[in-house]
Amino acid sequence: QQPVQSPQAVILREGEDAVINCSSSKALYSVHWYRQKHGEAPVFLMILLKGGEQKGHEKISASFNEKKQQSSLYLTASQLSYSGTYFCGTLAPGGTSYGKLTFGQGTILTVHP
């Protein structure tokens, strides 16, 4: 079953902040975040492992609460280059060797000047 992302879409002005949430009904080993710009391949942003560790990538950070099976992606002081579709991918325990990710439906982020 696919994880559920919210919101489905968000529109920002440059400099504003946003949060994208990812929620799973299954136990998770890790959560991946990817960004896909229009017409391009999805690109890896970060992995969150069990333990609630918060990771960062430029002004983008994320958290993972394995008890709630939820992850959130935080985009701070957004830039035009942040526009794209963001996907969370979840990895179940026992599936780590194969790297079999189950992706959410995506969140479309649009940043305007």
């Binding site: 696919q2 992302q5 489905q8 080993y29 890790s30 991946h32 990817y34 391009e40 391949a41 999805p42 690109v43 890896f44 992995i47 996907f87 991918g89 990895l91 599936g95 780590t96 060797s97 194969y98 790297g99 079999k100 990710l101 189950t102 992706f103 959410g104 439906q105 995506g106």
Partner: protein, 112 residues
Amino acid sequence: DVKVTQSSRYLVKRTGEKVFLECVQDMDHENMFWYRQDPGLGLRLIYFSYDVKMKEKGDIPEGYSVSREKKERFSLILESASTNQTSMYLCASSPPGGREAFFGQGTRLTVV
């Protein structure tokens, strides 16, 4: 620069045709994947492979098959293309251990 290369960016096929989508990676990754991307549905796993000649069904395998004869190459086969298989197809590869996946540019397939 690491790469996952899909043989075609755009394909137009007729209903009933047998269609081959090819994917090659140059990172010596064990794991390879085929996803289908549709608006509002995200990326859905069709098949994956964790070794040469080894394959496992994903979440939506019906109407598809795969082949992995060499480590670097993973092919998706539509045995008899149908209009509901019109979609964007993405190939990905990753090393073992659930680490970062690398995606190809995608093949936009239209079945008419």
